[in-house]
């Protein structure tokens, strides 16, 4: 069976695309307000970037969406589902995937096994099938291996398929992390600084993959990134956070000319 590099494997039903809407979310850690009254919405199939200085609450917002943090106020809707009340492990079932900022791969597994773990929610076999690895159990593994190979082709990591993730270079690990999220076959993907600490070449590669995923697979992308060049270039819309407050939201051009944003980034005098 031959796929084009971009084509989504057809044996796998893609997750439905919903709009993500964050409504009046506030998150406090004791006296510290990490997020205050943040509202934004992400439309299906768009690339949505969240930017802001360090400590602005960008990752906290993603953690709220993932169910790792529980905001005290507000709600986060994905379709009809309120993500605030959803346990983290249900998220993948809704078609939401996440790649972490500080790589959180399973370092003692091979790249292939890491990606296969992304297929976890799609596998149905029970413990007996697993112990026997015969018939149904084996067939299912092979079926999902096919999908994993497709992702491996898309991200061009064929050469490291059987290597332990822990032994890989940083840039490649980031790519594997993206691949693992992709293996869920998500409708929405949350990328936390996928290009941090990369050189120009590697950044170009990742941008290319992100655009491929968005255009060819039709996946909605929420992206946190510090590289303004990249953000302004590829995003459909941008949200700006500063000290947990949403100070700007709109197309890259609108945000670039927003005085509050300029002030936050360049300081009082710069504005």
């Amino acid at each position: 069976m031959v796929f084009s590099r971009f084509e989504r494997p057809y044996e796998d039903n893609p997750a439905p695309r919903h709009a993500l809407s964050v409504e009046n979310v506030s998150l406090r850690f004791g006296g510290v307000k990490a997020l205050s009254d943040v509202s934004l919405d992400v439309q299906p199939r768009e690339i949505f970037a969240i930017i802001g200085p360090n400590g602005a609450g960008k990752t906290s917002l993603l953690n709220c969406i993932c169910g790792l943090y529980h905001p005290q106020e507000g709600r986060i809707l994905y379709g009809d589902v309120n993500l605030v009340q959803t346990p983290p492990h249900r998220l993948a079932h809704l078609g939401i995937a996440r790649a972490f900022q500080n790589i959180e791969l399973f370092t003692h597994m091979t790249v292939q096994d890491n990606l296969m773990l992304g297929r976890h929610i799609h596998m149905k076999k029970n413990i007996l099938d697993a112990l026997l690895y015969w018939g149904r159990g084996q067939r299912e593994e092979i079926e999902h291996r096919r999908f994993v190979e497709h992702v491996i082709d898309l991200l061009e990591i064929q050469h490291i398929r059987k290597q332990l993730v822990g032994s890989l270079a940083y840039g490649l690990q980031k790519r594997v992390e993206l691949g693992r999220a992709l293996c869920i076959n998500p409708g929405l993907i949350l990328l936390d600084e996928p290009m941090a600490g990369m050189n120009v070449e590697e950044k170009k590669d990742i941008v290319r993959y992100v655009l491929d995923i968005n255009e060819e697979w039709g996946v909605t992308i929420v992206l946190i990134e510090h590289d303004m060049g990249v953000v302004m270039d590829i995003s459909d819309r941008v949200a700006v956070l500063d000290f947990g407050i949403l100070i700007g939201l709109g197309t890259p051009d609108e945000v670039r000319n927003n005085p509050t944003v300029i002030q936050a980034y360049l300081g009082e005098e710069g504005g």
Binding site: H89, A92, T107, M116, I127, Y133
Partner: protein
Amino acid sequence: MPSQSGIYHEDYASDMQLRPTTMQRIRQIAIVAAVLLMPFILGSNELRIVNQVLIAAVGAVGLNILTGYTGQISLGQGAFLAIGAYGCGLMMAFFNVPWPIALLLGASITAIIGGFFGLPSLRLKGLYLAVATLSAQVIVEWVIKRWDPIDGELDGRTTDALNIPSNLLVNWQWVDANRWLATVGIVILIGAVLWVTWRLQSNFQRDRFMAYRYLLYVVVGLIVVFLSGLIVILQTPMLSLQDVFTEDWRLNGNEYAFYCFAMPVTILVIMAATNLFRTHIGRAFIAIRDQDIAAEVMGVNIFRYKVLSFMVSSFIVGLAGGMLALHSTAISFERFTIEVSIEYLAMIIIGGLGSVSGSVYGAAFIVILPELLRTLGRTIAGTDPASLSQFNRILPFAQQGVFGAAILITLIVESGGIRKIWQNTKDYFRLWPFEY
């Protein structure tokens, strides 16, 4: 693990094989041959040690699934062994349950109780969970000591020990009385052996080298000839089976009989554990150990899989406990203390955490080492009574000392354990004369 040069896979099934190279398969078949020959070569005393290794290996594989693969430290190994042993033993002693069913029931009970003691893993991690499993150890030990029905009678007085009835591996009297039924059973067995071989063979087809296939045929041929011989004997009315098989086939008296039972069980457990970690369930276990938050975001229900890991692990440990009971004439709480739990932890650390083969190496190491020291000491001490008594005094200390030193040396030299040392050695020769 890098892929091997010169081997080309044409489908995913072949790429996902456990042993893709010819050398690995030859070694596998050599192991099967050794397993078949061992009872003919070794004496009863050596075979007793081998049997102890087999029991320990099953227990260590079970513990490694929980501690090595899922990362949940358990200090309750002794308790789970005890539940398996007493579950199996009580059912045989009081309800006259046939031993294979008692063994499986004992293991199932252990799985359920193990799952129960896994519930704290919802809130507790690492050392805190270890302390929670310690409670299993304390509770079970206390119940065994205090609960009256568990106590048995020995020489007319009540003790903590539970007597295990003798179980026959093969009841030749029954076979003698039901020759036709037994023949049908053996024919089915031969069929099963041939079918499994055919499956293995169909996986081998793409290989260029043939040597391993002939080895495989030799091994299978031996088994089939042996079983066919049995059929011939069965179908000869003049022969009384008692005359042919005079050996006493009690599991807890005859080491050969126990070996014939324990070896297939051990092999099955090893195969099942290996298979488990080729599937999404095993991967979820490892993911929980490596990065539990990431695993959860990827859709792994952490709590469910932790409890599942406790249950699978306890089932296998319970199986080891049942084997221990079948191997003994009586069991008592002294064989399931906290020291046993620590000994099993030592096995998997020395053998290699998160490795099925490592569990077996570790079990062999820990069981054989004291025996080796004893033999060595005996040889040095000679027959002089004075030096013998001194030797008997020193031996326990020497055994403990070497035990401790072995753990220390493994942790310092290669924290990956014996399995990693073996892997490094193989890599060295594979890459020789280059460094990497």
